[in-house]
Symmetry: C2
Subunit: 332 residues, 2 copies
């Protein structure tokens, strides 16, 4: 049987398991000419998927109710009628949450399991790494010696952003949600400072203390009150990369907070929404850096791998609740 996971209903507020449904169908796919049969190996669960579960205008269309959810997937070619793919090849791309499926190969990239563990193609040398690298470079425009603050710093993107910041000679401060995570940032990933926002009463002062020379770049994965607190420390010409707002994705009402405009005027500061897919022309160059740094041991990665296709929805919920360290991945 081929299993798939559909969006059963659009979540209101925080998603629950009831928003997902499992379907099974006979395993009787016959390939047309040019098609390949894929068996899913790893599935990526990411914060942006929450946005696609809602029915609102965004940069990618919402998921359809009653249809499979899709995300980054690594899969093995188990049958082929396409000369570009051999049996036993592995590919990565955006694919529906199914244990098996046919594909014409469009939008899929072959990945080499001898060069790096397969899960990494969903993470540090996949969209996660590209998001970190390109967001930091294209909007952050980092200069050696500057101060970088990263929110969601123990997450998939944040943990890479901070490491790249250190490679580039920045002073790096990470904000995360547990002492264990903060400890990981400073002792394993080379961050200069870590702040546990859950136990820190006065975030504004904590950031000012960790960044005595002010904040030049803020890589924002979370939005909400943490981002408000950062505003008090921004320097003239600060750049704020708005990569995500996980803290408010589940809100049923529009989130409110400090008006950013007075801070932007005072500091000639910039705030820009970042979507990695807008920078596709820069992927090869960015990938080269990531692979090199990974090979040189300058970048390390954290993964939280959950076993079992049937645990994908729970893995997504756990990731939204911050239970992961680094990239959250399901092993099918």
């Amino acid at each position: 049987m081929i299993k798939s996971i559909n969006l059963k209903q659009r979540p209101i507020g925080t998603p629950t398991l009831a928003d997902f449904e499992f379907k099974e169908q006979e395993n009787n796919v016959t390939l047309s000419e040019g098609e390949i049969l894929l068996h899913s190996t790893y599935i990526s669960v990411d914060p942006y998927l929450r946005g696609r579960m809602s029915d609102s205008k965004s940069y990618i269309p919402p998921f359809e109710v009653g249809q499979p959810i899709s995300s980054g997937v690594v899969a093995e070619v188990i049958e082929t009628k396409n000369d570009n793919f051999k049996k036993g090849d592995f590919v990565a791309g955006m694919l529906p949450w199914k244990t098996q499926q046919a594909s014409n190969g469009e939008g899929l990239q072959k990945v080499d399991k001898n060069k790096a563990p397969l899960s990494v193609y969903l993470g540090i040398v996949g969209m996660t790494g590209l998001t970190a690298f390109l967001g930091l470079h294209e909007i952050g425009k980092p200069k050696k010696g500057e101060t970088l603050v990263v929110s969601g710093a123990a997450g998939a993107v944040g943990s890479v952003v901070g490491q790249i910041g250190k490679i580039l000679g920045l002073n790096v401060i990470g904000i995360a949600g547990s002492d264990e995570k903060v400890n990981m940032l400073t002792s394993e990933l080379g961050f200069d400072h870590g702040i546990n926002y859950k136990t820190t009463k006065d975030m504004k002062s904590a950031i000012q203390k960790a960044a005595p020379n002010g904040v030049d770049i803020y890589f924002d994965n979370v939005g909400g009150p943490i981002s408000d607190a950062v505003l008090f420390s921004i320097n003239r010409f600060a750049r704020m990369i708005i990569c995500g707002a996980i803290s408010v994705y589940n809100n049923t009402e529009l989130p409110t907070g400090l008006s950013v405009q007075p801070f932007l005027v005072k500091n000639s500061a910039l705030m820009q929404g970042f979507i990695v897919s807008n920078y596709a022309d820069k992927f090869p160059e960015a990938m080269k850096h990531l692979v090199t740094w990974l090979g040189e041991g300058k970048l390390t990665y954290k993964e939280t791998i959950v076993e079992g296709f049937e645990n994908t929805p729970q893995a997504f919920l756990d990731m939204m609740a911050g239970k992961n360290k680094g990239k959250m991945i399901v092993k099918v």
Copy 2:
């Protein structure tokens, strides 16, 4: 007697006349070598002065209590010991609010009263025009056919922004605070649409209706709820020039409103604080355009001129309350 206007105390909330004080001193200035004696002709009152009256970190230092306020001034050279200036020359620059004063000429630009009325050097071919031109070009990066929304549209900067927008072939929507102002925008200044925010109950819908193709550029002079309402209409890759936040300058608490981050992420949109002085290298080029357009009759300007040096504080208060149309200037 030489009169000057000092900051008596830092205003709390909305400034009042009690925050200013008049001083007189004997008119017995003796010029040193290299100095000129200036008699003030026109004084500019602008929203940004409110910021300098408070004691908070900003892009220019605050005014000192007990010292004269300064702003853009056009003055006549009535005595000279500096070869660069002749008696009868007119100059423009940042000067203290004094009827007469000595200067070494630094930072002053000679202006030609035969080329344009002198007051214009504080407005459309001065900082006001430069702010409009450079904010729109450097951050807005306008492309023909796009939609531009301007808040504070009947004010000094806003009224020029909209006209430049029309010269560049944009669809221009202006937001202002009275029917009379809105009428001026559409019937005299060539704006395509005007919205009176004081009589419009649902600003979000009004903007959506006036901008059926969405908003590509927002030139923001006001901040607050008007700017929140614009967010619902922004297009992918929208650019928002944060030039001022007059609606909240008098707030005694930090203003709050909609969180902009989710809108920025969804639309890959940009929001950037704009201070004209950061773009000094582009002044000559911008000035050339402004003077040409003015000469060709493509740009018109609105001024509200108040007579009498002693009315300068009241003119400032009136401008903050939106009682001006176009540039507010005091004739000494």
